[in-house]
Amino acid sequence: MASVLIFSEQDRCAFELLHKAKGLGERMKLEVAAAALGASQSEEYRRRGCPRVYAGSHELLSSFDVSVYAQALCQVAAESRAAVILIGSTRSGKELAGRLAQRLGAGCLTDCQSLEYEDGALVATRNAFGGLTVAVQKLTTGVQIFALMPYLCEPAAPAEAGGEIVPITLDLKPSPVRKLKSIPKDLGAVDIEGAEVLVCVGKGLAKQEDLKIAEALASALGGFVACTKPLATDLKWLPESRIIGLSGKKGKPKLAVCAGISGQVQFAVGIRDAKTLVAVNTDPNAYIFQIADYGVVGDLHQILPQLTAAIK
């Protein structure tokens, strides 16, 4: 039986893929299989109801390397007769997806925001034209690879039907790339993508100390502070892990407050899935007001503290 095979080097993301794959597998009559490589918890996949868990242990799999992991996934894909491969669309996942697609002669879509089985085909949505549009696309190839954005769905819950763990012997060549060290980016990293409330700030913020205003509001609302790219990469006022946007994270909070942000598309794509969006900007013509549920024309340095006080 052909399979829908899942892999992510991030556990949470892998269990989201498992959840997705279970639904698709049932409708497409494909067996659900997971590639548990290296330190991945094969037992945990089984506990969450994955019918076939390919456990590949090999000394070269101890940390993620695209060259080694592409070899390994190719072998698992052959063993599991994968027709559909779901990969987590993290940076590592994306570099793997392209390499794997080329090796398998598979079509590939990355950064998919949704994936559904409709009229006999898998249909994905992803940003196009730099986020101006959302393309609805499908693949026509025999093997299809979809890299799905983290937090696309809930992780698969623990299930009763335990699957089978299939040890697989992998024939791997060492990577030509030597990993020297890994430096954590942000020790106080917070879960921007999973946050229920985000207070996003941009270049309208006058000085770094004023971040306190945003932090106070975020704390009153029970959320986190996130930012536009320039605030982290140019001004370095916040760590890069807080960047929202096309090349940053995609938040989908219940409430987003965007203050001092004009709303350029590079940022907007990362926040437009917010359920309710509040914008604060001095410029009444700022684009952010066009994608906001509630807009306040005014200076964030004045409005945010008042908002914080009113909520408290």
């Binding site: 080329q102 196009a128 730099g130 994270k249 807009g295 908002l307």
Partner: protein, 258 residues
């Protein structure tokens, strides 16, 4: 040091507007340019050349308009362009793009390093770099935010979601860069004037043994429209005076924890 930089022609998306009635992007009369992050890759190549000499070749595939668009790269500091051009190469898929670039690389001679942006400005799929590395049998280092070359060794700092990873590889290699790596230069007028005289070698896909018809489309696009914005669009114009009204609205929606 021979450095190849792969660049993609795209619309200048800053200038693209959405037609409100149809939600379609309006692409008529939009100028063409090269990808934003591709320019970071080129800038990095120019900096490496300034430090240790060498030659920079731009590789690109696209329709006839590319011959003009690529001048921007030659003005920024590339020495030569090797282009694959055909009318059908307007919006090509990653697999074909990688195949054409691999062939163009073959024409451009020996190389030590291939640089690309981590993704294109328009599609941002991030596939071409890894696909090209696979086709050419090269080691790949993606998402580099800085890189240093000493002798035949390249060391890069990769920017991943939650960590920076230092990685090292012997040349030749393929590296994709993130936009944080540098600030691309704006070429001076004299450079722009000189760019037209720099060598350009143009190939048709057939010249390189590629039949475009042999590449069946792998991706079918059913629609490509601006997302529907289902927002309330309530604007409080009185600034601070309206904060209480905003709080009331948020409270009614159950968004404030009490």
């Amino acid at each position: 040091m021979n450095i190849f930089v792969c660049m993609k022609q795209t619309y200048d998306l800053q200038q693209v507007r959405i037609r409100r009635e149809t939600r379609q992007p309006v692409l008529e009369n939009i100028p063409l340019t090269l990808g934003n992050i591709d320019k970071n890759a080129l800038e990095e190549a120019v900096r490496l050349k300034e430090k240790s000499g060498g030659k920079i070749t731009v590789l690109s595939a696209g329709p006839e308009s590319l011959a003009d668009t690529v001048k921007e790269a030659l003005a920024m500091g590339a020495d030569e362009a090797v282009l694959v051009m055909a009318p059908e190469l307007g919006a090509i898929e990653s697999a074909l793009s990688a195949a054409l670039l691999a062939k163009a690389a073959g024409q451009a001679g020996p190389f030590d390093l291939i640089l690309l942006g981590e993704g294109s400005t328009d599609n941002y799929s991030g596939q071409v770099g890894p696909r090209l590395a696979e086709l050419l049998g090269l080691p790949q280092i993606t998402f580099a935010k800085s890189l240093v070359i000493e002798g035949r060794t390249l060391r890069a700092l990769r920017s991943l979601e939650d960590c920076l990873e230092e990685a090292e590889v012997d040349l030749p290699a393929l590296v994709t860069v993130v936009s944080e790596i540098n600030e691309p230069r704006i070429p001076a007028v004299t450079q722009i004037l000189k760019a037209g005289r720099k060598p350009k070698r143009v190939f048709r896909p057939e010249d390189l043994g590629i039949q475009i018809r042999g590449f069946a489309p792998e991706v079918q696009t059913q629609s490509n429209l601006a997302p529907i914005q289902n927002r309330k669009g309530i604007l409080f114009k009185e600034g601070a005076k309206d904060v209480s009204a905003l709080v009331k609205a948020l409270e009614e929606e159950g968004l404030l924890r009490r």
